[in-house]
Symmetry: C2
Subunit: 165 residues, 2 copies
């Protein structure tokens, strides 16, 4: 497997990038991680991840269903949700709560908490990890006496490509 982290830079997907490289990186990592965790990367799960990996856009569960229908036969919704849950559990995909959509993670690891950047125009999703923000959550949670379990940050706007057409 390609172990360098250059897939992570730049952080927001650019127009001309070599996306075939992203795709193979995403799928190879999934295989490795499944093996490490003793989980099975079986065809239905793989197919869901392949569909998400076709772009850096996020897709709804029923969008994925339709694409599976176009490839073979349409599975029941629960099948897609089962695969999504599996992939979420391994950290291979993320869920955008504000849009009820899912997308393939392109970061090699999440050392820090993550932030999602979603372009309203093209639907692309970028990921960042900010130590400054992580430190500020720490400071605030201390001051509130709050024990943090999970943090979800979704930033919507317009990406650099869509701003310069």
């Amino acid at each position: 497997m390609n172990t360098d982290r250059s897939v992570e830079s730049p952080h927001f997907p650019q127009v001309g990038h070599d996306h075939a490289r992203c795709q193979s990186w995403i799928l190879q990592r999934a295989e490795v991680r499944c093996r490490q965790e003793g989980m099975r990367f079986i065809p239905q799960r793989r197919e869901v991840l392949e569909i998400l990996a076709t772009s850096h856009r996020s897709l709804g569960a029923y969008d994925i269903l339709e694409r599976m229908q176009a490839r073979a036969r349409r599975p029941p919704p629960a099948a897609v949700y089962r695969s999504l849950e599996f992939l979420l559990g391994l950290g291979l995909i993320h869920r955008m709560a504000g849009r009820n959509t899912y997308f393939a993670c392109t970061r090699s690891d999440h050392d820090q908490q993550i932030q999602f950047w979603i372009c309203r125009h093209c639907g692309m999703v970028g990921e960042t990890e900010s130590p400054v923000v992580a430190g500020e959550w720490q400071r605030l949670s201390d001051s509130l006496g709050f024990r943090v379990s999970s943090v979800n940050v979704e930033i919507e706007g317009e990406c650099i490509t869509c701003r310069n057409p």
Copy 2:
């Protein structure tokens, strides 16, 4: 109207606080803001806000429906969503995207972007505004070439009350 901002401090709702004060503050502010904006604070909208203001917990649209049913007659779902949309538009309530719930805002104004702190145990919601985080979003968006339209931050965990039972 009570114009001091002491309702905002502390930022996470405490057990023994004078919640009747919160309630009247929320409703009086709604009246003032509606008048300022030339909007009508009619009974159905008021009822939805009253229901949300009964606690600092967030409620789903159908929870609100049930409480309206208990008070008078059950309106159709769209009626509740219409009132919620109105209140969201005036910034009098917020929506938790991760939970599909709504709660009454208790900050006098949102100068900065806001963060939501949700206790998984008791369901209470607190609000903070961090200039440090706002600055970091600015720095990151500059570096990504991203024009930000909206930011949603939802932090889940356990509040100080639920940690010390």
